[in-house]
Amino acid sequence: MTSHFLLMIVFACLVSVVFATLLRDEPRAQLRTGALMLGAFVAAALALGWLMYPLPL
């Protein structure tokens, strides 16, 4: 498994699950927080990726 995007999604999923479980007590609230966090992680990674695209690395 060498797809950067897939690995990023898996990582974001697992971290979101742990944080949502830590922060919320009710399963419904955990699901909502986890989904929001996952979306934010993926959106931020894509946005930062595009912003860094022109940089000479």
Binding site: M1, T2, F11, L14, V15, T21, L22
Partner: protein
């Protein structure tokens, strides 16, 4: 009625766990096995989620050929990564004893593997702190 009984049982367990000796044992259990602290306190759903998610992160990190860092204090970043790795208790010890986590620097997924391994340990430190807070009656 059933929900109230479960909640009062959880509160009673948390109260009993607030003794200093029990708190130390609770934190040690939470460190050794992800989710064990919450299981002890009767929060089984959370315990199961922590156990599965953190074990999976650690396993994926090893599968991606990440490295379990040695305690080399002459290199501060390596030492900090080693402390982060240490956060996962028994899985970390078993992996080290089994000779896993040597890390392949040339592998494409090496840095990903390191990230999974380090973050799983750091997240378990947060889980330990959460179990401590629950036992102290703060949550």
């Amino acid at each position: 009625m059933k929900g109230m009984a479960t909640k009062s049982t959880t509160v009673e367990r948390a109260r009993a766990a607030a003794e200093p000796g029990t708190l130390v044992l609770l934190c040690l259990a939470a460190w050794a096995l992800p989710g064990a602290g919450h299981f002890w306190l009767g929060r089984r759903q959370k315990a199961l989620v922590f156990f599965l998610a953190l074990s999976m992160m650690f396993g994926i990190g090893l599968a991606l050929q990440g490295r379990i860092f040695p305690f080399d204090f002459s290199e501060p970043l390596v030492a900090l990564a080693a402390i982060a790795n240490l956060g996962l208790g028994i899985p970390w010890a078993v992996a080290r004893m089994a000779g896993q986590g040597a890390g392949t620097v040339t592998a494409v997924t090496y840095e990903y593997g390191n990230t999974f391994l380090i973050v799983s340990g750091l997240l378990n430190f947060l889980v330990i702190l959460d179990a401590f807070d629950v036992a102290m009656g703060r949550k």
